[in-house]
């Protein structure tokens, strides 16, 4: 895989099927339907539980707005990922082009996915720092690899955004 900046876009080239599949999983991973831990992390309370009124108002007014915000980011990413439906050429020749205008949406979706996966699997700090673990051992190992791979993409996007400033 090669990732680089091309004018007003980021390009991910020479993708192997495994990494392409991880990319395709971003939108699903970002909005897990069956993980209360992930839901709790993405929509954490704004204050201590004693602030009952504030927490209740937050759930009522703010959480739906946040949900829409997160959904909008993952939809943008989902549309960009349509480029990976390379049916007419070998995978290695597929290029994913991410317009810089979509950088914020990608940062958000990658972050949602990383937080949701980490919450679901309850990774320890030690595990999250283990960047060399093979993804092949178990579903947990694969998920940890996913968190780190998405983190790598986030770092690259952030660096390029900083270069824009």
């Amino acid at each position: 895989m090669e990732i680089c900046r091309q004018n007003e876009a980021l390009e991910i080239r020479e993708l192997d099927p495994f990494l392409a599949e991880l990319l395709r999983q971003i939108p699903e991973s970002a909005q897990p339907k069956d993980s209360p831990a992930a839901e709790e992390r993405l929509f954490s309370p704004p204050a201590a539980p004693e602030e009952k009124v504030l927490c209740a108002e937050w759930k009522l007014y703010v959480v739906p707005e946040l949900r829409r915000l997160f959904q909008s980011a993952t939809e943008t990413v989902r549309e960009d990922l349509q480029q990976l439906r390379c049916t007419d050429k070998p995978f290695a020749n597929c290029t994913l082009r991410i317009p810089m205008a979509h950088a914020d949406a990608w940062l958000s979706a990658l972050n949602q996915a990383r937080l949701a996966i980490a919450a679901t699997y309850q990774f320890s700090d030690h595990e999250l720092c283990d960047h060399y673990r093979s993804p092949l051992g178990s579903r947990r190992d694969l998920s940890l690899f996913q968190v780190n791979f998405y983190g790598f993409l986030q770092e690259f996007i952030l660096r390029e955004m900083e270069g824009n400033d």
């Binding site: 704004p46 504030l54 009522l60 707005e65 915000l69 990774f123 999250l128 660096r159």
Partner: protein, 117 residues
């Protein structure tokens, strides 16, 4: 939520000057209204809590964007969160504190507001 609070605050100004006809009184009358407890309450802190998943560079960028802090100050807060588990990013009136927390949650940071004192 902030809009609701703003509307509520607008309905109860603490002091309002009442117009009186010229010469009727030498001094303008000050109509006093009772301030709600919400208006005189203590200020609130905006706190960001440590999260092992969010990238340090990402957290720094968020602090710069939301609070307009220069990079050095944003990094100082980020490191405080990283090493101490939390950092107070801003203190002031409740409505603005809530708005900041809402923005921080929009970037998926663990943020809360806390009454001072």
């Amino acid at each position: 939520m902030n809009r609701l609070r703003r509307n509520r605050a607008a309905q109860c100004a603490v002091l309002s000057v009442v117009d009186v006809p010229c010469g009727a009184l030498e001094m303008p009358a000050i109509e006093k209204q009772e301030a709600t407890s919400e208006e005189i309450e203590m200020p609130w802190n905006v706190i960001v809590h440590n999260d092992p998943v969010n990238l340090m560079s990402y957290v720094t960028m968020v602090f710069q964007r939301i609070f307009g802090y220069p990079r050095e100050r944003a990094e100082k807060h980020m490191l405080e969160v990283h090493h101490n588990g939390r950092s107070i990013l801003w203190s002031g009136v409740r409505e603005r504190a809530e708005l900041y927390v809402q923005q921080l949650h929009g970037y998926l940071l663990l943020a809360t507001i806390e009454k001072i004192g």
